[in-house]
Amino acid sequence: MTMTHPPGLCPRSQALAVPLIHRPRIDNWSTLRLLDQHDILAHATLHSSPIINQSRAFLSSHASIQSPPKQSSSVARRVSSWSSDRDLAMAGETKGELVLLDFWVSPFGQRCRIALAEKGIAYEYSEQELLGKKSELLLLSNPVHKKIPVLLHAGRPVKESLVILNYLDDAFLSSPPLLPADPYARAQARFWAAYSDKVYEIGTRLWKLKGDAHAQARKEMLEVLGNLDGELGEKAFFAGDAFGFVDVALVPFMPWLPSYERYGEFSLAEVAPRVAAWAARCGERESVAKSLYPAEKVDEFITMLKKVYGIE
């Protein structure tokens, strides 16, 4: 099945993390940066494999459908200055090609995109076909799970989103760290980042299941959100003043919350008001704005999945 929903444009930013065409061989990765859609269509003419053709067709339809929201000139200026800061940050940083095998709406993939952006690390984004036939590269890179995200670094695969985040801290020492330095603070970060996975797991049960199972999922969701709210407290971010590991782990689930709210009949603002405010605060960050899709797109995706699974 081809992807029928083009990636949405996040309202705040103009440059989007639009899927790049994956090229198995390329000469010089070190000057790669997030490309805008025109560059992508230009690059698309270089290859002609079936996946590429599908993606190319999808992108051209995207280009014609998509009319970017009101672009103030200040937005355009902010984005272009970010791009050049990014280039400076990346000079000498990239130690071999980085390719992220990903799927546009995956919150686990988005954790990686946000982390890479926060750390100013250049990489090639490679959109994977998940609902139809998986690419050979994905199957070879992650034979155990056949899942994204997979970060290929000089051809070697790193798998599992939180493992990838840890890896980025370990392998790119001159980039701003996601995890705090203090062992106790690190332990807290690990605990809560793992805990944040529950939002997605329970949320999935909310839209998939009915009856008692649904009621149980709703109960668990309220508990989890309440715990997260308590842990965040009055802090700006989970570790304090700085955006970090737990924030990166949790924020990609935020565009899913409106759907979960509807399926679960609750309000995030009521159940976890501080998390709601934190989500808005995170959304102001360039890395987050560029990586996440609007809730409406996520909701469309859930609706499509329900059809695929034959769920009412």
Binding site: V144, H153, R156, V158, K159, E160, L162, V163, I164, N166, Y167, D170, A171, P183, Y184, R186, A187, R190, F191, A194, Y195, N227
Partner: protein, 232 residues
């Protein structure tokens, strides 16, 4: 890093055993507090409000919860003391972390379901999935050890050895109780060798729970669950 260490746990828990293994490997002394999970202490509930479960490591009054987080914390906080649990190389570290997640998600969490599902059919299905996961883990052991030794950490034990090590007495108890070999010499020879070598270590002999005691505990637990099922 000075400061008293206190471990809230139960003797039978494989997750608590992980913490004990880690503390012992680092040569750390600690106060061992045996909790009654039917009557949880105020300290346990206040230290682990999210899960109210064991193990909890309390270091200078600060609680750390979840066994894998505790083991990593012990490695971080006592970095200069004893061996490191993780490889130095970032990529090897990532491979280790990947398989640690696999152990938790596919082996441990599946196996834990055996004790929760109600029908024999469900139990058989869960056991089947657990055994399949163990076979995949055989490949993980090969990848992590890199041919350097019997352990995931190569010729010395590391993070995954500790995570899996906590379960050894339960693996043996399961074989004794049900005849099911979670780690089968013919299907998973590397893991079988791993278990043999692990059990020969001084730390294993000191820390691992007595298998017969675990068997008795499991029998009593099964009986209680059967009673509860009848009475519901």
């Amino acid at each position: 890093m000075a400061g008293e260490l206190k471990l809230l746990g139960t003797w039978v828990s494989p997750f608590v055993t992980r913490a004990k293994l880690a503390l012992h490997i680092k040569g750390l002394s600690y106060e061992n507090v045996e909790e009654d999970l039917g009557n949880k202490s105020e300290l346990l509930v206040s230290s682990n409000p999210v899960y109210k479960s064991v193990p909890v490591l309390i270091h200078s009054g600060n609680p750390i919860c979840e066994s894998s987080v505790i083991v990593q914390y012990i490695n971080d906080a006592f970095a200069g003391v004893g061996p490191s649990f993780l490889p130095a190389d970032p990529y090897e570290r990532a491979v280790t972390r990947f398989w640690a997640v696999y152990v938790e998600d596919k082996v441990v969490n599946q196996w834990a379901r055996v004790f929760r599902v109600k029908t024999d059919e469900e139990r058989a299905e869960v056991m089947h999935q657990t055994l399949e996961a163990v076979e995949v883990l055989e490949g993980g052991l090969k990848e992590c050890s890199g041919g350097k030794g019997a352990f995931f950490g190569g010729d010395s034990i590391g993070y995954i050895d500790i995570l899996l090590g906590g379960l050894v007495s339960w693996v043996k108890a399961t074989e004794s109780l049900s005849g099911i070999k979670l780690i089968d010499t013919t299907k998973t020879p590397l893991l079988a060798a791993w278990m043999e070598h692990f059990c020969e270590l001084h730390v294993a002999k000191t820390i691992l729970q007595d298998v017969n005691a675990v068997v008795e505990y499991a029998k009593a637990l099964q009986a209680r669950m059967a009673d509860a099922a009848v009475n519901n």
